[in-house]
Symmetry: C3
């Protein structure tokens, strides 16, 4: 197990998932901004907020500095390039990335961001309920801030499909495993698998969250 922990491919895998999730979240921002007929500035800002807003809000609340995108400014350049490419490419081809194609990286990213958020909160001594909340915030509030900037009711609150709730459930599994004597990679992996699995199950089975009849 220790071998597994120290294996460099684990870190490579985590990094690759992180990049894929950031791209998926940024693409969701590009699409939302384009739907509102924003210009290139709006597209870049909304993509940035969708990709980094959740983690930045978490770090603001936990008073953690520097932010992810300040430590790794390469991500900012990559994001700008992604936005420009997306605009050029999609103007020419009238191509729209299907939401379906983004569901998988989005679901895995949600789990990974939740696990990263829990890790950060636990490292500064937060109790379990706060750690889970920070995990959900990391995964969900990028999309919430994206929708606020686009002047929409946040999709995560109103499309009645389980999303934040999957991260909430995955987060408690993560926290529970941390209490036990597991190797350090186990909570991360369990959180990603549980969140993405629940999300996939919810989409496949068309689960609906209860709403309030007014």
């Amino acid at each position: 197990m220790d071998l597994l922990l120290d294996a460099p491919w684990i870190h490579t895998l985590r990094f690759l998932i992180e990049v894929a999730a950031t791209i998926a979240f940024a693409l969701s921002g590009i699409i939302a901004a384009a739907r509102k007929r924003m210009d290139v500035v709006g597209v870049c800002v909304v993509a940035f907020v969708a990709a980094f807003g959740g983690g930045t809000l978490r770090d603001l609340l936990l008073d953690q500095r520097p932010f992810f995108w300040i430590r790794h400014t390469g991500f900012i350049w990559g994001l700008l390039a992604l936005c420009v490419c997306a605009m050029l490419f999609m103007r020419q081809r009238h191509f729209k990335p299907t939401e379906r194609a983004m569901l998988l990286p989005d679901a895995i990213g949600l789990g990974l961001f939740a696990a990263v958020g829990i890790d950060t909160a636990t490292a500064v001594g937060m109790p379990p309920i706060i750690a889970v909340m920070m995990g959900v915030t990391t995964g969900v509030f990028g999309g919430v801030l994206r929708d606020v900037l686009c002047n929409e009711v946040p999709q995560a609150f109103s499309d009645h499909r389980p999303y934040a709730l999957c991260a909430f459930a995955g987060g408690w599994i993560d926290v529970a495993l941390r209490q036990m004597d597991t190797p350090p990679w186990a909570p991360l992996l369990a959180c990603v698998l549980a969140t993405a699995g629940l999300r996939g199950l919810a989409l496949w089975r068309n689960w609906e969250l209860p709403a309030w009849r007014v």
Copy 2:
């Protein structure tokens, strides 16, 4: 007077008002989210933001940690229970808490939250105008953030009934009493009474704030 200050019922009273105000603010969030047909996740998040958003924004601006809801995680569990109960109860009975029933705890809560905000700002050495602003922020911005998440123009800015202004007036009374040689409970009490009294008077007399004819 010293007896009064040290009397445990003072602290109990303040705590009870604080709980009542938090519940009133959370209920306003639940109702606003339900009107937008949000799902259970949206209802919980909006209720949370309505109840704790003002104090959290104040602490962010003043760089005070930990937040109220991180120090007292019991409030988070209570809020989740309140949301679930409200949804179950109101689905069955088609019952809507009348706005009228919430006016009293809301008005007292506004005054108390303002006094708590002024206390926090004064304790870190802020000048009077900033202390009063932080008091108003604590009382009002929970509702403002609630309305932003619900994609509405904030009610506190546009319903033309004095609300923030009552807290502003009560806040200056609080600050003035702090300058004098009064016992420590006097500013709190005066702020709550003045704010709630002005708010009640404004509602009873149908006072209207001037707007701008465009």
Copy 3:
């Protein structure tokens, strides 16, 4: 050159531009709030957010305290007086400050706020890309937060006229001059002139930013 740097009129000029820009940004908030038929509380809050929101967000992200408006509380009193005067004056005269009259202080203010933001970020050791981002944030996010409070899609993202992009270009000139052996007032001046010049050119020539055809 050293004489120029130490000359008191340089500081007076910078201060006067700063006051003019703050007034221009506050007026944009007053007009936006009045269009939404907000009451006097809404007008004051939106004017405050438009004038100080960008710098406050930058200082939150960079963890810099105290904020500008806490260090100089005189600006708060001035802003309140401006709001009350604007409401009284405009109610009587049915007068609306033409957007055209505000374009000049707004353009110079954008450049100055960008330069101040870059200065703040550089002083705490941020890399160039972050410094430029913080400059653009200082100049642009006051207006973005104003539009979010007014429940509008932010104008800076959707009116297809270069605004943030002018500050972005001016910001890189500022950062480039800082790398060279120039006197300390040169980057500030170059950033203001380049930003305001580009903005003026864009308005004069009716430049349009590319949007995304969906």
